[in-house]
C-alpha cells in the first residue's frame, strides 16, 4: 500500500488557488521527487501535506486522512518537514534544536541514541552543539534542519530544496547522507529540488508539476529520458 496518497489536492492562499487538483502517491521506502519551474506549486504541495496552507481534497498517510488535522498532529503521524529556509530555532543552541525535533517522542533513551546518530551523520553539528543555532552557517543550518527532522524518527521526510545555498561539495555530501537514511533506515522521502539532475539521481519516482497540475509522472529513469523534461529542466 502507498504510504502517502494525495488526491485532487487544491491549495489556497487567500482567494488565490495555487494547486488545481494534484494527485500522486508515494510508496513506503521510496524517494519521490516533485519537479517543476518556480511557481509550479512544489513548495505549496509540501506545505499542504503538513497542514500549513488551506486545502481541499484528500491527503492520506498510511490510509488515514490527515488533511483535516492540525500541523502538530500530522507531525505525530511520522511526517517530518525540512522547510525551505530551514526553519532553525535561532535563539537556542544546536543541540536544543535537535531535542526540539524529538519533542513529540517520550522514549528518552532512544532520543539520546538518535542524538548521537545525528551527530554521526553530521559531525559538524556536534562541534557546534552548544552554539546558538542562529550563528551557524547556511550549510550547517541545512544539516541541522535535516538532523532535526531525523530526531522525529519519521516515516516520511518532506524535503524542500535541501541543496539551496550549499556549496557543490556539501550538496554531494548531503545527498549521500539522504540516500543512506533512505536505504538504511527505510525513511521514505518526498523531495522538492531546483536541481533536477540531482533530484532524479536520488529519487526512484518523479512527478512533474506545471502551474498547479501534475503533467507527467513515472520512474526517475523514464522521466530523465523524457525529451521535454530534458530540455526544460535538465538542460541538455
Amino acid at each position: 500500500m502507498a504510504l502517502l496518497e494525495v488526491e485532487n489536492l487544491e491549495a489556497f492562499y487567500g482567494p488565490i488557488k495555487a494547486l488545481h487538483g494534484v494527485s500522486f502517491s508515494l510508496e513506503e521506502g521510496s524517494v519521490t521527487t516533485i519537479l517543476g519551474a518556480n511557481g509550479a506549486g512544489k513548495t505549496t504541495t509540501l506545505r499542504s501535506i503538513c497542514g500549513m496552507v488551506k486545502t481541499a481534497g484528500q491527503i492520506r498517510m498510511d490510509g488515514a486522512d490527515i488533511a483535516s488535522k492540525a500541523t502538530e498532529d500530522i507531525v505525530r503521524t511520522g511526517v517530518a518537514h525540512v522547510p525551505e529556509g530551514r526553519g532553525t530555532f535561532t535563539r537556542v543552541t544546536t543541540e536544543e534544536n535537535l531535542r526540539l525535533g524529538a519533542y513529540s517522542r517520550r522514549d528518552k533513551k532512544a532520543i539520546e541514541d538518535d542524538l548521537e546518530r545525528v551527530y554521526g551523520y553530521f559531525p559538524r553539528l556536534k562541534e557546534r552543539r552548544l552554539q546558538q543555532a542562529g550563528t551557524l552557517s547556511g550549510g550547517e543550518q541545512q544539516m541541522l534542519a535535516v538532523g532535526r527532522a531525523l530526531m522525529l524518527r519519521p516515516r516520511l521526510m518532506l524535503l524542500d530544496e535541501p541543496s539551496f545555498g550549499l556549496a557543490p561539495l556539501l550538496v554531494e555530501e548531503l545527498f549521500g547522507i539522504l540516500r543512506d537514511i533512505n536505504q538504511q533506515e527505510n525513511v521514505s522521502m518526498l523531495l522538492v529540488e531546483q536541481n533536477a539532475t540531482l533530484a532524479l539521481e536520488l529519487a526512484d519516482h518523479a512527478y512533474l508539476l506545471e502551474t498547479g497540475n501534475v503533467v507527467i509522472s513515472g520512474t526517475s529513469d523514464a522521466i530523465a529520458a523524457d525529451e521535454n523534461v530534458r530540455k526544460s529542466y535538465l538542460g541538455y
Binding site: 492540525a70 507531525v75 522547510p83 530555532f89 535561532t90 531535542r99 519533542y103 542562529g134
Partner: protein
C-alpha cells in the same frame, strides 16, 4: 555610612518586589515575545481575589493557593478568548489590547472592591528570630520568595522540554508546529504561568504598599525597568535588574534627585539601557546569520 547601608538594604527589599514583577514580565516575554503592559493590573486583580477569599474567612495559604489557580486559569482564558483570535494581527493591535486590559482591570477592581486602601496580611512571622533593624521580616521573606521563584522559572526554561518548547513556540511558531509542538497550548500555558507569577508578586507587594487598584502603577514601571536592565530573555538577569533598580532608586533618591523624580528615574534607566545595551546586562544577544 549608616544611611548608605540602610538605604541599600531598604533598596534590596523594594528591589525584591521589582524583581518578582520582572520575573512575570520575563515569563510572558519568553512565551509570547511581547511585553504585557497589563501584567501589573492583572497581578493587582489577582491580589484582590486573594483578599476577598481571606475576607470570606479562608486561611491565608488556602487563599494563596486558590488565587494562584484562579490566576492561572484566568491568564489562560485571556489568551484563549482575547489573544487567540488576533494571533496574526500586527503588534500594534496587541499593544492596544494590552493597554485596554490595563484600564479594564483597574476600573473593574475599583468597581468591585472600591478605591479605599485595604490591608493585606503577610504570611511571614511578625518578628525575626535574630535582632536587626536593617530589614523587616516581610522584606526578608520577599527576598526569599523571589529567589525560590527564580530557581523554579530558571529550571523550567532550562531543564524541562516544555520550557524549551515554549521558547521555541514564541520565537518560531511555524517550525514549532513542524516538530509537533501545539503553539496554542504553549501560549495559553505561558499566559497562565505569567498570571500566576504575577499573583505571587501582587500578594507579596500588597502588605508593603497596601492593596488598592492603583498599587502597581509605580511598581510596574520599575519591574519593567528591572527586566529591561537585566535582559528580557534571562530570568536571573531580571531578578538582578530588579534588585539593582531598588537599590539605585533609593540611593539616587537619597543622594541625587529626591523623591519627586523617582518614576522619571526608572524611565531614564529603561531608555539608557535600550540605547546602549538593548539585550540588557545579562540577556542573550540574538545573532542571526542569513
Amino acid at each position: 555610612m549608616d544611611l548608605f547601608l540602610q538605604q541599600t538594604l531598604g533598596g534590596l527589599a523594594t528591589g525584591a518586589i521589582y524583581a518578582l514583577l520582572a520575573l512575570a514580565v520575563v515569563m510572558i516575554y519568553q512565551a509570547i515575545d511581547h511585553f504585557n503592559f497589563a501584567q501589573g493590573e492583572m497581578a493587582m486583580f489577582s491580589t484582590f481575589i486573594a483578599w476577598q477569599l481571606i475576607a470570606w474567612g479562608a486561611p491565608y495559604w488556602v487563599a494563596f493557593a486558590a488565587c494562584l489557580v484562579i490566576s492561572f486559569i484566568g491568564g489562560m482564558a485571556i489568551e484563549r478568548i482575547i489573544f487567540a483570535p488576533i494571533h496574526d494581527a500586527p503588534v500594534l493591535s496587541h499593544i492596544v489590547i494590552f493597554i485596554a486590559l490595563t484600564l479594564i482591570f483597574n476600573a473593574a477592581a475599583g468597581f468591585i472592591w472600591e478605591f479605599t486602601i485595604k490591608e493585606f496580611p503577610s504570611p511571614f512571622p511578625a518578628a525575626l528570630p535574630f535582632k536587626t533593624n536593617l530589614i523587616g521580616p516581610h522584606e526578608l521573606g520577599i527576598v526569599g520568595v523571589t529567589l525560590v521563584m527564580l530557581g523554579m522559572i530558571f529550571a523550567f526554561f532550562r531543564f524541562t522540554p516544555v520550557g524549551l518548547a515554549m521558547r521555541a513556540a514564541a520565537a518560531n511558531p511555524d517550525s514549532a508546529r513542524l516538530v509537533g509542538i501545539s503553539v496554542r497550548k504553549m501560549l495559553a500555558l505561558g499566559w497562565g504561568l505569567a498570571a500566576a507569577i504575577g499573583a505571587v508578586a501582587g500578594m507579596m507587594i500588597a502588605p508593603v504598599v497596601f492593596l488598592e487598584p492603583n498599587m502597581m502603577l509605580g511598581i510596574l514601571l520599575y519591574g519593567f525597568a528591572g527586566a529591561v536592565v537585566g535582559g528580557l530573555t534571562s530570568p536571573g538577569g531580571a531578578v538582578i535588574g530588579g534588585f539593582m533598580m531598588g537599590v539605585l532608586e533609593n540611593l539616587a533618591g537619597t543622594y541625587l534627585i529626591g523623591s519627586e523624580l523617582k518614576l522619571t528615574f526608572a524611565l531614564v534607566v529603561i531608555i539608557t539601557v535600550l540605547l546602549f545595551k538593548p539585550a540588557g546586562l545579562f540577556g542573550r544577544v540574538v545573532v542571526q546569520r542569513v
